[in-house]
Amino acid sequence: MRKYVLKRLAQVMVILFCILTILFVLFRLAPGDPVTRMVDPEMTPEESQHLIEQLGLDKPIWTQYLIYLKNCSTGQFGYSIHYGEPVAKVIWEKLPNTILLFTTAVLLSAMVGISWGKIAAWRKGKATDLVLTIAALVTHTLFLPWLALLLVWIFAYQLDWFPITGMVSDEVWLDPTAGFFTKAADVLYHMVLPLTTLFLIHFGSYLLVMRSSMLDTLKEDYIVLARAKGLKERDIRNKHAAPNAWLPVVTSVGLSLAFSINGGALTETVFSWPGIGRELVFAVSQNDYPLAQACFMLISTVVLMSNVVVDVLYAYLDPRIRY
């Protein structure tokens, strides 16, 4: 097991190295002068000279490549042109926000998808099954930014139940008397709409995978055996069938992670949620290359690491698998 994890981590390292190299090559191939793209024009000559030396832009291309690899591995991605601050500082502030929204959304939709998929398979052909399957199909294919705009329009503008954008309200966070729970409640209140958007888009695919996998499981001999033993229907469903049907869902969580990250970036952008995905979109539109590059690397790292986690989880859930 430990050997397997180490092997997977080594693979992640190799992939990240490849991505870094490709980005480096593409950056040199792209039109425009690397110096003007990496260095803020508003800096003083001394400052920009220092930055050019630090990034190695005055040295031959091979040295530049080595310096670039060294900087990336130590987390120094240069200075953001828009913020005028080290990129690492900017994105470290944003990372927890993305993780908070995204992890909650994936876990919530997977849990709901699994339990509803279980019910749909159990009542196959009945009205419950039909309603759940159709709901899953329809919500799963909705266009995410449009759904987000629609939710904002209905729940934030027409009904005025939730804030339109953002993650915190200033009056709560600037108030020195506000305790931790008030602040947490405020974040939660802002999180409802983005979370609903991501949930609606994602639970459908998990539901459909769980339903079909559960239908396969229900044909197994051990289900017949459980019935023959006279176990309660609920126990057969929850203890004998469902745990075995989870496995394909776990795989599909891993495989759809890239797709979910796309959705996460779109959601963050629509709701102005201060996360990495929005920062990447913003950086690209502002021509802030150092920031865009760092965001992209960070997102890739997170996706790759989560895939490792999913694979390890799979082995944990299925005792038959031994690496």
Partner: protein
């Protein structure tokens, strides 16, 4: 004499193909998902064809350049403009029609390219095995986990505005791994069949075996995956356009949504906000349903299940 036999065989083969096609068509149309999917797609196809008509009658309806001189801001539906106009007086209905054209263009061409690439890689990896297999599949694994939308966004950061064909090409280049995995698995099982051995013994080259003997057997599967790729390509293009990195020379549904959002009309102009989103969602749904119904045609196991239950 021999000529006649060959002709006979060919005729028989054609008859067999026709029979199988009719049989599959029957199964396909038996499925409500297939029926709904295909009717929706026909509707979108008509929309795409009709997109050429309005600008021909009056340049005012040109989705990109046509501006109604009497309208200076976004107004609601009227007899003149069925779905209203956008912020500078362009007709929303004709934009919607033009969007169908772009969606088909992007979806079908990107899906076709990625499926061709994925099938070629999958067959090569499965058939050659050993080092080629490992190398190609590692590459596929690497590309598969990358979020395509953000990758294309990154390329836009590097190279500036991407044209619609560049976007199509990029989507194709990053969406093939899923196809190639499945085609590889199929090729691995085909490789063990006696007819491949027979072909090899009779002296067929690797290329001939791959293209004449393996390809016809994996094509139906590749075709099925194409329908799923179409949806993902349309959604990625729409997402990109929504974020403001689409081709400024085309009107896609994602672009229309971006205009609604960026010009701050999303609260005042539901007649403008709703149609493009409904169209993207419906076209995705219809391709998805088409794929599901085709799945059933190709996999009789699924078919029996639905008929029994």
């Amino acid at each position: 004499m021999q000529q006649a036999t060959i002709k006979d065989l060919k005729a028989k083969r054609r008859a067999l193909w026709r029979q199988r096609f009719m049989e599959n068509w029957r199964v396909f149309m038996h499925n409500p998902l297939g029926r709904i999917g295909i009717s929706l797609l026909i509707m979108f196809g008509l929309m795409a064809v009709c997109s050429y008509i309005p600008p021909m009658i009056d340049p005012m309806y040109h989705p990109m350049t046509g501006v109604d001189p009497k309208v200076v801001s976004s107004v609601g539906p009227s007899w003149q403009h069925w779905l209203g106009t956008d912020f500078m007086g362009r007709d929303i209905f004709s934009q919607l029609l033009a969007g169908a054209r772009v969606a088909f263009l992007v979806g079908v061409s990107a899906a076709f390219m990625s499926v061709v690439l994925g099938t070629a890689v999958g067959m090569t990896a499965g058939y050659m095995g050993r080092f080629t297999d490992t190398a190609l599949m590692r590459l596929a694994d690497m590309i598969m986990v990358l979020p395509t939308l953000l990758v294309v966004l990154m390329l836009a950061a590097l190279f500036g505005q991407l044209s619609i064909w560049m976007i199509v090409l990029m989507i194709a280049l990053f969406r093939w791994p899923g196809v190639s995995r499945i085609i590889r698995a199929q090729t691995l099982s085909l490789k063990q069949r006696p007819f491949i051995d027979a072909a090899r013994v009779s002296g067929a080259s690797h290329l001939r075996i791959i293209f004449r003997h393996i390809m016809p057997n994996v094509l139906p599967l590749a075709f099925l995956y194409m329908t799923f790729r179409v949806t993902s390509a349309i959604v990625i293009e729409a997402g990109l356009a929504f974020l403001g990195f689409g081709d400024p020379g085309t009107v896609s549904w994602g672009m229309m949504l971006q205009w609604v959002w960026k010009t701050g009309h999303m609260f005042q102009a539901p007649y403008w906000l709703l149609p493009p989103g409904i169209c993207i969602s419906l076209i995705t749904l219809s391709f998805y349903m088409l794929g599901r119904a085709m799945d059933e045609v190709l996999d009789p196991r699924l078919r029996d299940e639905t008929q029994a239950g």
